[in-house]
C-alpha cells in the first residue's frame, strides 16, 4: 500500500515536474483568442469534426477556415460561445434574410429558340444571351439550385423556388446567377417586384407578359414612398409595410405577394369595385 503511494507520488511528481519544466522552457506564444476557442470546445478530442482534435478544430475556426458550429458534439451552445469569442454576434437589429427570385418569366417570357444544351445558366447566357427574348429573365436551368449547399432551391415550372425554412441566406445563389436575379430580402417582406427587365415598357412587355412596364402606377399608389421606378420598379424594404397597394395597381402583375412561401397574384382593386374582372384579366398592357 505504502509502496503504491510512493511510486505514484514519485511518478506524478516526476512527470509533473518534467511537463512544467517543458512548458515553461519551450513556451510558444499563442493568440489568447485561439486558446479561448479551444477552451470553449468540449475537449473530447474525438475527431468527429474532421479536424485533428479540439485544438485543430479550434485553430481552423480561429483562422476562419471552419464555421463556428464545426463541433458536432458541442452543438449549438458551443457554437454560440465560440461565436461570442470570435466577435460574430447574432445581430438582433438585422432582420433574418431569405433569398428570392426577381423574375416570373418562365412561360410568360417569349422564347426565341429551343435550347437543348447543357443545363447551365452560364452556358445559356453565352449562347445569344439565353433563349428568352427578354435579356434579363430567368433561364430556368437551375444553376442556383445546383449551387445551393442546403438544397433550399427547387426548380418548379422553370423558375427557382426558395424553401424559406432551408434557406440560410448565405448568398451563394446570388453570386451563382449569371442574370443577377437572386436577392436577399428580409424574411417578413411579402410584396416583391418579380421583374428585372430594365428595357422600355413597350420592349419589355413584348418580350414577357409579366414584365415591369415602368408605368409608375405603383409609385403613385404607395403611401409610404417605398417603391420607385428606376430601370425597373424597386421596393425599399426599410419603408415597405406590405400593404399591397402597389401589387394591386400593377397592370402586368410584375409585383406579387408571397404568402406561406407561395406566390399569390393580387387581384386589382378596380375589379372588386366594378365587379367585372374581364378586362383586366385579359389585358396585357
Amino acid at each position: 500500500m505504502l509502496e503504491t503511494l510512493i511510486i505514484f507520488l514519485i511518478l506524478g511528481l516526476l512527470l509533473g515536474a518534467i511537463l512544467t519544466f517543458a512548458s515553461v522552457k519551450f513556451h510558444v506564444e499563442t493568440d489568447p483568442k485561439l486558446e479561448e476557442i479551444i477552451e470553449a470546445l468540449p475537449g473530447a478530442n474525438c475527431g468527429a469534426c474532421g479536424y485533428p482534435g479540439c485544438s485543430g478544430c479550434g485553430k481552423a475556426i480561429f483562422e476562419g477556415k471552419a464555421p463556428v458550429n464545426s463541433c458536432p458534439v458541442g452543438g449549438s451552445p458551443t457554437a454560440i460561445a465560440i461565436a461570442g469569442i470570435m466577435g460574430i454576434e447574432a445581430n438582433s437589429d438585422q432582420k433574418p434574410l431569405v433569398a428570392r427570385v426577381k423574375c416570373n418569366g418562365a412561360d410568360n417570357a417569349k422564347a426565341i429558340y429551343e435550347y437543348s444544351g447543357a443545363k447551365s445558366c452560364l452556358l445559356a447566357k453565352n449562347s445569344f444571351s439565353g433563349m428568352k427574348l427578354c435579356d434579363f429573365g430567368c433561364f430556368g436551368l437551375g444553376t442556383c439550385a445546383v449551387s445551393c449547399p442546403f438544397d433550399a432551391i427547387e426548380m418548379v415550372n422553370g423558375l427557382p423556388k426558395v424553401n424559406a425554412k432551408k434557406c440560410t441566406a448565405c448568398g451563394i445563389c446570388v453570386k451563382a446567377c449569371p442574370q443577377f436575379l437572386m436577392e436577399l430580402i428580409p424574411q417578413d417582406q411579402k410584396v416583391l417586384v418579380n421583374c428585372n427587365n430594365t428595357d422600355k415598357g413597350k420592349n419589355a412587355i413584348s418580350s414577357c407578359k409579366v414584365a415591369c412596364i415602368k408605368c409608375k402606377k405603383c409609385e403613385k399608389a404607395c403611401n409610404f414612398d417605398a417603391i420607385h421606378v428606376g430601370g425597373v420598379a424597386v421596393i425599399d424594404y426599410t419603408k415597405c409595410t406590405n400593404c399591397r397597394a402597389c401589387a394591386e395597381v400593377c397592370p402586368t402583375h410584375a409585383i406579387l405577394v408571397y404568402e406561406k412561401n407561395n406566390i399569390v397574384k393580387v387581384v386589382a382593386k378596380v375589379e372588386e369595385k366594378s365587379g367585372c374582372s374581364g378586362c383586366s384579366a385579359n389585358c396585357e398592357r
Binding site: G43, A44, V73
Partner: protein, 202 residues
C-alpha cells in the same frame, strides 16, 4: 434542466454510438455476442456513472489547466477497480472482453461526458446523465450484437435458433461488425431524414 430531458438525450436523442458516433472501438469489437455486449455495457454504465459523480463532486476543486489529465486519472482508477472486480467475480467475461476492458479508459464517451456535462452540472444531474448515456450505449451495443450473434452463430444469448447451415461466420468477424453498424446507421439515417423532411414540409 429537466431530468426526463437528460434521460431522453442520453438514451436516444443523443445516443453515444448511433448519433454521436463515440466509443466505436468496444462497440465494434465486443458485440460478437449479446452476453459480451451486456457485460461491456454494464461496465460502462458503472464507470460512467461513477466518473460523472466524482468529477461533478470535484468540479470546483480541479484547476482548469490540468482538468483533462485529472479526469483521465480518475477514470483510469475507476476502470482499474472494475477490471479487478470482473476479474475476480466473472472471469469468463474478463477473458472475452480482453483488452477492451482496460481500454474503457480512453473511451471518448466517458471523457466527453466528464468534460461537457459532469464538469458543469450538479451531482444529481451528472449521476442521471451517466446512467442515461450508459444505458443508451448499452442498448445500441445490444442492437448490433443481436444481429451479429443471430446471423453469425444462429443463436441469441447462446440459445441456438437458426440451423448451422445458415451461420455466416463473417458476421462475427471484423467485416460483419463494420457492415452491421454501417447498415444500422444507414437505415436510421433513412428514417431520420424522412422525419426531417416531414418537419420541413409542414
Amino acid at each position: 434542466m429537466k431530468i426526463s430531458d437528460i434521460f431522453k438525450d442520453g438514451i436516444y436523442r443523443k445516443n453515444a454510438i448511433l448519433i454521436m458516433l463515440l466509443g466505436m472501438c468496444p462497440t465494434l469489437a465486443v458485440t460478437t455476442t449479446l452476453s459480451n455486449a451486456i457485460g461491456m455495457g454494464i461496465s460502462v454504465i458503472v464507470i460512467l456513472t461513477l466518473s460523472n459523480i466524482s468529477i461533478s463532486i470535484m468540479r470546483k476543486v480541479i484547476p482548469a489547466a490540468v482538468r483533462i489529465p485529472a479526469y483521465i486519472g480518475i477514470i483510469a482508477a475507476l476502470v482499474t477497480i472494475i477490471e479487478m472486480l470482473i476479474h475476480a467475480y466473472v472471469p469468463t467475461l474478463y477473458v472475452s472482453l480482453g483488452i477492451y476492458l482496460p481500454l474503457i479508459v480512453v473511451n471518448c464517451i466517458i471523457l466527453e461526458r466528464a468534460e461537457s456535462f459532469a464538469s458543469k452540472n450538479n451531482i444529481l444531474h451528472s449521476t442521471i446523465d451517466g446512467i442515461a448515456v450508459g444505458i443508451g450505449f448499452t442498448l445500441a451495443m445490444l442492437l448490433i450484437a443481436f444481429f451479429r450473434e443471430l446471423l453469425g452463430t444462429g443463436a441469441i444469448l447462446g440459445f441456438t435458433i437458426l440451423p448451422a447451415s445458415t451461420n455466416m461466420l463473417i458476421m462475427i468477424l471484423p467485416p460483419g461488425a463494420f457492415l452491421t453498424l454501417g447498415i444500422i446507421l444507414g437505415v436510421m439515417g433513412h428514417y431520420s431524414n424522412k422525419k426531417k423532411e416531414e418537419l420541413e414540409n409542414e
